[in-house]
Symmetry: C2
Subunit: 333 residues, 2 copies
């Protein structure tokens, strides 16, 4: 048959090769693969047949160049290694890969400057859109493309997916009150999320006539340990803004000989995978990271398609474990 070009065997077959074999123009081949306009069924089948024969499918590279967009979705995480973000990432990936898209990854390191640079980098790669987790730059991002924000600091950022943190705080308050809390404390952290959790917690506690001690932290276990040590002696119930920090609080209480949940009840936040492993098992307000990722992926897909769906607010639930169940026991004098 036709003499193949010297390097023909190695090089992946292109649109030209398929067109030649099917006896049509490359435009027709392109049309077949871009189900936009109509192609005569016979021609179409012939093209598909030959394409399959040579293992052809349109190269993303050429396609990207001419369309000015890729089938890539940029995802910007504060820290790629943090388990919670890993779960979000997986939710995103699970969702978008069914529509043939892929994730291009970047990190922001909780720094607005770095975040913006990362976004610019992704934009240069013509990502169809970006999902930004815990954005610091918020609406200050280059505006040429689609964004979906998961729990951004900026309350004005568009296309949001987030947890109802206020509600989370209320749930924690209700749980601790049910456990007989008389003197509650909140171990918080910087940022909007913690502030909202605290608001819900304090409001609900105030409604029950309780005032809340505020103890600062930074989500780290160590800061939880310090916070736990600094807890006033009269505190008998603690709501902690994050599970890892709660691990520190539990340890501090332990070291002080204060029994959980007998003397002090504790509720964490996130319901991360460490919660059921702690001693005692930690009750926690569940932050469904995977669901957040799924919702963000869906929203991104719809915004990219032009059918902008509404923002998503996920309602948290409380996962009750040992740390908040005040077992009846002889009270020490």
């Amino acid at each position: 048959m036709a003499t193949p070009p010297p390097d023909g065997s190695v090089r992946a077959a292109g649109i030209r090769e398929v067109a030649r074999r099917a006896g049509v123009s490359i435009a027709t081949v392109s049309r077949v693969f871009n189900a936009r306009s109509t192609v005569q069924p016979g021609t179409r089948d012939r093209v598909l047949e030959e394409a399959r024969a040579v293992g052809y499918s349109p190269s993303p590279l050429g396609r990207n160049l001419v369309r000015g967009r890729s089938d890539l979705l940029g995802v910007i995480l504060p820290n790629t290694g943090f388990p919670l973000y890993g779960a979000v990432l997986r939710g995103i990936e699970d969702t978008i890969q069914t529509s043939g898209m892929s994730v291009l990854l970047a990190s922001s390191r909780d720094d607005a400057e770095v975040e913006i640079r990362a976004v610019q980098h992704l934009l240069r790669h013509a990502v169809d859109g970006c999902i930004v987790v815990n954005s610091r730059a918020g609406s200050g991002l280059p505006s040429e493309r689609v964004y979906v924000h998961i729990a951004p600091e900026d309350p004005a950022a568009p296309h949001r997916v987030e947890l109802d943190n206020v509600r989370g705080g209320e749930l924690a308050a209700a749980e601790l009150l049910a456990g007989g809390a008389r003197c509650p404390a909140y171990v918080g952290a910087p940022g909007r999320e913690s502030a909202e959790r605290e608001r819900g917690f304090v409001t609900r506690m105030a409604a029950a006539g309780r005032q809340v001690y505020h103890v600062p932290g930074d989500y780290s276990e160590d800061s939880g340990l310090r916070a736990g040590m600094a807890l006033p002696a009269e505190v008998d119930a603690v709501f902690v803004a994050g599970d890892l920090m709660a691990a520190g609080v539990l340890r501090a209480l332990h070291q002080q000989g204060r029994r959980v949940p007998t003397d002090v009840t504790v509720v964490g936040f996130d319901d991360s995978l460490i919660a059921p492993l702690l001693y005692p098992r930690l009750s926690s307000v569940r932050q469904p990271a995977h669901d957040l990722g799924v919702a963000a992926g869906r929203l991104a897909l719809s915004v990219i398609a032009g059918t902008a769906g509404p923002d998503v607010v996920i309602t948290p639930e409380l996962v009750r474990r040992e740390s908040s169940i005040r077992v009846p026991s002889p009270r020490p004098p």
Copy 2:
């Protein structure tokens, strides 16, 4: 609304615009940005000046098309959400982003078929190379591009980065023996890694005249719980192939009223972030996931550059905590 056509005002300046303003040809502009051949300092400065003025830098899209490769590195993880893999991912990212590359993500779900499809997908995007974690397909991957394997099942896979699992088993054995182990058990899992850990463990134990009970598991906490329950009464030391599974073992021992480390000493594997949170704090053979990622990133970079470095074997260390130190427990369960 449908995707808006790129409006002229926002459109990024291209190589032509820069060439025009600098009064040179586009070839010269290209040369300036590809520090390959030489350009007269004066011309060079003028080009750089104008490029900065219009905010130009070469578009990855055009560049990818003509070079047949991107500045993307494919990373294939069994499961994006698993913390250990998250740490690996971060190590990779930290390393390659300093050379301007980005991570294109994919999942294999521990399935050779899925893994191969993922690789093909990445290949079509012209990734410069792939890092595959815990590959099931091994050397059966399409061979047209660079691969770096982190802990592949296939012992024949090229460009490997992995932990010395045998050594890890030896370390665990030594630790348990130092704690007075007389009757040790190993809680394992399917796969090459666990088998190697067991080999090191058994060998070292045999040298000390100890025989090892084998109990099967699958890395899950639940399987650890079951394994812990199935442990023969005479066992006084347990080495568990993974920390999460070790959490299950600890809980089972707890429930049986067997005190750790007083009655039974325990050593886990991975030294994941849950190890220091368990009760008692778990001694564990450290698997430096971040370091593995860094090493893989470096190796990938070098292989892509053509200077294939040697394979990397990382030597594990034992992190000693409470669970392996046989002393009277301060606080009974």
